[in-house]
Symmetry: C2
Subunit: 301 residues, 2 copies
DNA sequence: TGCTGCATTATGGTGGCACACAGAGCAATT
DNA sequence: AATTGCTCTGTGTGCCACCATAATGCAGCA
């Protein structure tokens, strides 16, 4: 087991290997090309050490060959996805999601201490502390004045929910009218297909989560297309908040169909080049969703 | 020196003491009133231990008197500000400000390691790491893939500056039209006085910083009045970003006068109850400021 | 000269430990 | 019965050392 394997290899090495592979493919590099570790290091903005590690990994996979001293590219067609860990969601993100799930299930008290969480989830101090800090920035959790943390009670309250929608109403429609607004090529088609999937398939048990993520990606994608990083940041934050707090997850099939077709309508307008119409539809979409009665139970203050 | 003094007393104790003092004053508590530590603890959402500490502090200051067993209120008029540490700016905040200043002075490289910063500023690792993480959330600094951090080069770039203003243009005017919008009583008058100070006084050397903070407080105050916590959060983030990156700090007297009078104009409209007019003026104010040529030097990419 | 392997140094994440302090139970006091 | 002092346990933070790994210097080589 001394050979470098895909697993148990430093994350940075894998990540660099993936990046290089992608770059070779997009540049159409031919097998047999000579590679310089030093040049690669400069290109990637990193020192030679991790580059050497990445190349060792690629050599073990037969993508690259070392004739003692020099590196030769052998199989540039290797699928980068096989290097795994693509969306190596932060350990912190993963933990936040577990917290969200357990909270939803009612398996987690309102008031917790960092130690409890450390023990319960078998995590290091750093991860727990970071996650709590991030959640507190979202407003999902607050520090007690003394010890411990408290999951914000009013967190999924109707007031917060309304504030969230009003906030998005201020941002999302105008974002589509930004002068720099431009969708990445292929994005609209990809999104459309995902949404149509929800309309044509029968509604399954795992679909609520899948639809939530599609929905989040839709809104984040449009925010990104606005070209304004602050808008993107704000929308991603809203997504994370909703992901954590379970807004809307239980919306039910009927409402999902409505949402999906509204999204598709927005895509229609965008592809027709009518951004004003798209913004208008976005406004109605958000306002309509906001006005829905919400079936969450009201927590005690 | 064994007596509890204002200093070297746990921050929580001081903070609780301040809170209680404020509450007594706003409730108009009379001297001689009996106090129960247990009741106070419940009120403050904290255990009896820190409450006891806070009361010991107040006793040392003569605000409260202990007849062996019971607590009596003696001097409810004591000025809470004398307890000091009011805006006990996080060590982290203070450090961030030092970084900002040194960066502005060009005394800090583009690329730094945590150790360097630790050594240079004689701080613990935790403070440095936290500060960098917070700055990275603002986008002011980014992690290198390997080791080290890099101050975002394009950070005060014209593009980012424009994005920031466009973001605020989307939020701030509509925020003033929110149905729940309501200014705290006295806020408008207080703000007006501050601004008029800048118009009437001669322009001094320390005024740029003071005006920046007044300006930030003005915008944050309006955001808060909107009643939407997401709006407030976004605006505060923008303030912190601008504070760090030194947008506008060197605007010069003439421009400050214009800004101050535009702010006063907005206050006029609000006090007249004409929020539509106020929002319109806010829009013009932001758009006008955004269009200013910016005299910052452009950093190399 | 430009690159490599090897060796050295520096970095940042992690875990253990200690300390100051918050929380909570209990007997005593009124 | 309510509240307090006392005490003990639990909590979070700072400090330190360790370790995997990234950066870098250097001699050798094409």
């Amino acid at each position: 087991m001394a050979k470098p394997s895909i697993h148990d290899t430093p994350a940075l090495h894998r990540s660099l290997a993936r990046d290089m592979l992608r770059r070779w493919q997009s540049l159409g590099a031919a097998p047999g090309a000579r590679l310089s570790r030093l040049a690669l290091a400069k290109e990637l903005g990193v020192s030679r050490t991790p580059v050497a590690g990445a190349m060792a990994l690629l050599e073990a996979l037969g993508v690259v060959e070392s004739d003692g001293r020099h590196l030769l590219l052998r199989d540039p067609g290797f699928d980068p996805a096989r290097l795994g860990g693509e969306a190596e969601g932060d350990a912190i993100d993963a933990f936040i999601m577990r917290l969200a799930r357990d909270r939803r299930m009612g398996e987690l008290e309102d008031e917790v201490s960092e130690r409890q969480l450390q023990a319960r989830y078998e995590l290091g101090r750093a991860v727990v502390a970071d996650a709590l800090r991030r959640l507190s920035e979202l407003g999902a959790v607050t520090r007690n004045r003394g010890h411990g943390w408290r999951f914000a009670a009013g967190y999924s309250s109707p007031e917060d929910r309304a504030a969230s929608y009003r906030f998005r109403l201020m941002l999302e429609p105008p974002a589509m009218l930004e002068p720099a607004f431009a969708l990445p090529s292929g994005w609209a088609r990809m999104m459309r297909e995902k949404h149509e999937g929800f309309l044509s398939r029968r509604w399954g048990a795992t679909d609520p989560v899948a639809f939530f993520e599609t929905n989040a990606a839709f809104h984040a994608g449009l925010a990104e297309a606005s070209g304004n990083r602050f808008v993107l940041q704000a929308i991603e934050q809203q997504n994370q908040l909703r992901r954590f707090s379970n807004y809307d997850w239980q919306r039910g099939e009927e409402r999902v169909r409505v949402s999906a077709s509204e999204h598709i309508g927005i895509l229609d307008a965008l592809e027709a080049g009518d951004r004003a119409e798209a913004a208008e539809r976005m406004y109605r979409h958000l306002a309509g969703t906001a006005a829905l009665p919400w079936n969450g139970r009201r927590l005690a203050t």
